[in-house]
Assembly symmetry: D2
Homo-oligomer: 341 residues x 4
């Protein structure tokens, strides 16, 4: 049995485990004051070309979305997201739990666009009753999206401009950021992301870490007493070194990018196989998630050999599945996948 | 420079790191459905002698307190705790953040007693206006306490009986449970704790793990859709294996208990040194935290050689400090400590 | 200048003011324990033909929606509503403020239907990942809707059946309930509403009261310690008599129904005028809110004589406006309206 | 049977009811935009000698405390109050419901003092771990207190100075403000309160109104989008006129002060009676609440003639009761009370 079910089926990159081992008996202060966290933050600021950025390390994606959104919004504000955005649909109401509404826009393959955003914001402020409604206080997008698609640099600029015209921050969820940046057709760098977003995070859990996401506040806009607020949300690790060592390793010698690129190359191979075998793509994209339409018979036939994600029913006899590659995907696994498909 | 500042200055027990390494490339399902989490849960149920207990693994102590209290209380209920309880004072309002009041009782060396509890509960229900007040919905104690003291089995029985007379659960915060159970004068086992508490957790972060606390619901009383509620609190790890592997290792061959005992033996040695050197104890206890009164001059003199926790000012010229041993304390460190003191 | 802007532009029905005056110096206990509140509750139970119902009086509509939804839902549950439902769009996020998501269904003239609801619920439970999503925990509809339309008894039965198949309550927001029940084509009574809904409220603010909504729990399903929870939400009036006297008066001699019927007769007259003058209706309905399409020129011309609600832009040169009649509408006002239109 | 149980047993002052009657059929815009609310705000600003103050009208005391505290505090902040403060003990956790901790100080007859406050604040910031604790973000006092005692002007100045040294606002709960200001020994005016407090409210419910409290933000410090936040808390009345008319009447011809003075004169008479009859006072004060110690036998004997508030058991055979006078107390009632006592 092999699994292409998700990009978080294995542990961590070996270099990370090795570093955990090497540093294990050093005595380090807690709560993110260890030297590895400090080093990781420096490296991330450097790669972002933002010496004044403020970096914080958290444990997981939903936690990170929840804390960023809750601490950056005023109480009367909600966050605008695509209907398909992770915060809108797959976080068990973690945003609403903190008192904020997710205001949804229609999506095109997981993406929102600047015109829809502009018209939402304009309509809101034109509505004479808007004081009785939730104020739009932030825009959330994921790059790449939940459908593996990518915003172009131009699209990001337009979204950022629209946000800034209305003086609200643009937040980019980068749970799979490396897989986006390393895609063949990606036209921007992490420094571009850092310049365009008001806040974003660099996903570790899905790209080589056991756990961990690195939040970057790009414009001197860290919420006040942010560490206290992390603690208040139950998210402050005593042994912050666990996160520090991981991100310090990921941002040493471009490891984050090289292992992301590996996943993309694997995904490209899978795409070739899929095309060769004539499975139609459900959505065209260039990152590490591949959505294909498959007959239910075929799906049933391979279920003891291959684990993939069920996405949705396509029609009476077909299903959309997701095949995800990752930093840990092996060439052998891809060969086995080819045989099974 | 050596540090006795806390019990979370090192990484993880070597067996845990080894197990992370050995299992790293196994493909495991996420969100706590991996085989190691399942195995850890079984081992914990067995050691607790509670085959029907329900075990969940979370990341840190404040998170665990927050989730247990929030999910077990009705919205109109608060949690009773000692004024010195961790939830009352050192969690940045994480309990109140979820909408619940911490109702405080006076403490004696960090402990509350059954009479005070009984009288609080009786007074509440006798008050004709109690519908305008916060209902007491749970009792929280820590074992050992924040002062390193221990409840006796008899005291726990009395607290549990009082709780059950009023039909509210007893929650035992076991962030340092092992260090309590392995103390020379501890008169009970983890199975006793499991029998007396309605819910408790076994601390990993301070006892050999990188992170992780194991929550045990002892009486078929797990809150409904608990996994969804963990997610809603931002606390569900994608790679649940990280927690599963750690607790599976800690509860293999009694590792949890043997490394806890090591910390106690180290603490006992420190106590002998302290006594020999005539430093007065601030509080008498038998676990891994030692509170002593030291002159400010001495404290200043050793500040470049030794890191300890500042606890509070004792008088104009003296300070209370905390020396904490742990699973990772070495005999060499204790010898150095002896020299410095 | 006359106003048909809303149904809350005047004070209270004269009988209510008279009763406030007559009882003013009686000494009554607070917090809803006065004899008028008790009497009002009895009368409401009787009119609902539900001797075991539980009735509570609150101050306003958003408050009532917020408290009912928050206290009846489990923390991991959201409320299903039409996209146009008041709770979804015009309550400044009052529902999300309490931690619950509003899960939206498409609307047809303000109404949801049982098929869409059924398919939403079925899809939710079929989704293998539904533990990562917000559980649907209640269905909210307004009768009449925000568009003045009415559910038929058959439609209500189907919605109630669907809810009960999934064991979730049906909540009917009756902010304008009287105006629905007294409409020419209404095919059901308040007793039908009481039988079909698990909880509903009878709006007073818009039908003759200064303030006040009467919540009816129909099935022994009042949330535990509901008075304490009202207090916790900041909604418990010290002088509960203010609400008690109003509802006691409204449900004496069928006042609630007769004044509601008056508003309908006024609305019917307005409809005749509108039709005679050839203004197209934006939505066909039979209650006290009339939505018409009017040219922007005409709208501008009459703006110093008539106040109406702006609803939305219809096209470049037309606007949808709302004309609302109420218990207080006078025949003179309608004649003036006729002249102005 | 007469009642001295509380100061909210009657309806409203006759002038208020008369004004409700006189204005009843005027068409007024909703949500506090009616002309009476605007007029009331102007009158309050004038009496406070603060032309730039911002005034908002809310319905009840707990609601007002909840909204002021929640909207003025940052999420990581709590409010400091006396242990006996209304927000600390008798609001069913309404403050914690909004996510904020009530940080308690010891009280002397219901009052806190500037030294204790100063030392709490100094200790907090000296504590090296204060980032793990709830930040003190506001000071709450009630004037008069829950024990009917009064802060002197000098005490208020000291508290305000201490707050401002730490850059946190002073909030004065004036649920019974009139009864404080009109006490024989009160050494300050409402203008003094307005100058010293950063925010305070003028209680209507207990002083002549059916419901209503007037919040005054004194320093351009109204929380952003405050009306939206009121709505979000479920506290925005559609017919704001109900509050506007009441406060407009209370602040016409000094009605608020003259009826408050009436209650004080009644209280003074009661004090004379109590003293003449040799009942010991539990607490000395000069406002409308009188706390006396009475034998249980006497209490039982008069229970069919007189309703008072049970305060607490004094000893085995005595009880502390509260006798409250109000704007509505009659001389006949006091004579009857004299006979009964």
């Amino acid at each position: 049995m092999i699994s292409f079910e998700s990009d978080y089926t294995e542990g961590a990159h070996s270099k990370i485990l090795q570093k955990l081992l090497n540093t294990n008996f050093e005595q380090q202060p807690g709560y993110g004051n260890d030297c590895y966290t400090l080093s990781a933050k420096e490296k991330i600021k450097q790669i972002c070309q933002l010496p004044n950025a403020d970096v914080h390390l958290l444990t997981g994606g939903t936690q990170t979305n929840q804390i960023i959104i809750d601490t950056m919004l005023a109480p009367y504000e909600g966050v605008i997201a695509a209907k398909t955005g992770h915060v809108a649909s797959h976080e068990a109401g973690a945003i609403e739990y903190t008192g904020h509404k997710v205001l949804t826009l229609p999506h095109i393959n997981g993406k929102i666009n600047a015109e829809d955003l502009q018209s939402y914001l304009a309509n809101f402020y034109q509505d004479a009753n808007h004081e009785h409604m939730v104020f739009p206080g932030m825009v959330y997008i994921s790059q790449p999206t939940e459908y593996g698609t990518l915003y172009t640099k131009e699209e990001l600029i337009q979204l950022a401009d629209t946000c800034h015209n209305y003086q609200i921050p643009l937040f980019i969820d980068g749970a799979r950021l490396g897989y986006g940046l390393m895609a063949d057709d990606c036209d921007h760098t992490i420094a571009d992301i850092a310049q365009l977003a008001d806040v974003f995070y660099i996903g570790g859990t899905k790209i080589g870490a056991l756990c961990g996401e690195a939040v970057v506040f790009t414009k001197g806009n860290t919420p006040k007493h942010f560490v206290t607020q992390i603690k208040q949300h139950g998210a402050l690790l005593a042994k912050g070194r666990l996160l520090g060592i991981q991100f310090d390793t990921l941002f040493t010698d471009d490891l984050y990018f090289s292992i992301s690129r590996h996943a993309i190359e694997c995904a490209n191979k899978v795409r070739e196989i899929v095309q060769a075998k004539n499975y139609p793509f459900y959505i065209e994209n260039s990152t590490n998630q591949i959505f294909i339409i498959i007959s239910d018979d075929k799906l049933a036939a391979m279920k003891d050999q291959l684990r993939v994600s069920f996405w949705e029913k396509y029609d009476e006899t077909h299903t959309v599945i997701r095949i995800a590659t990752s930093w840990a995907t092996t060439l052998e696994a891809i060969e086995t996948l080819e045989e099974i498909l």
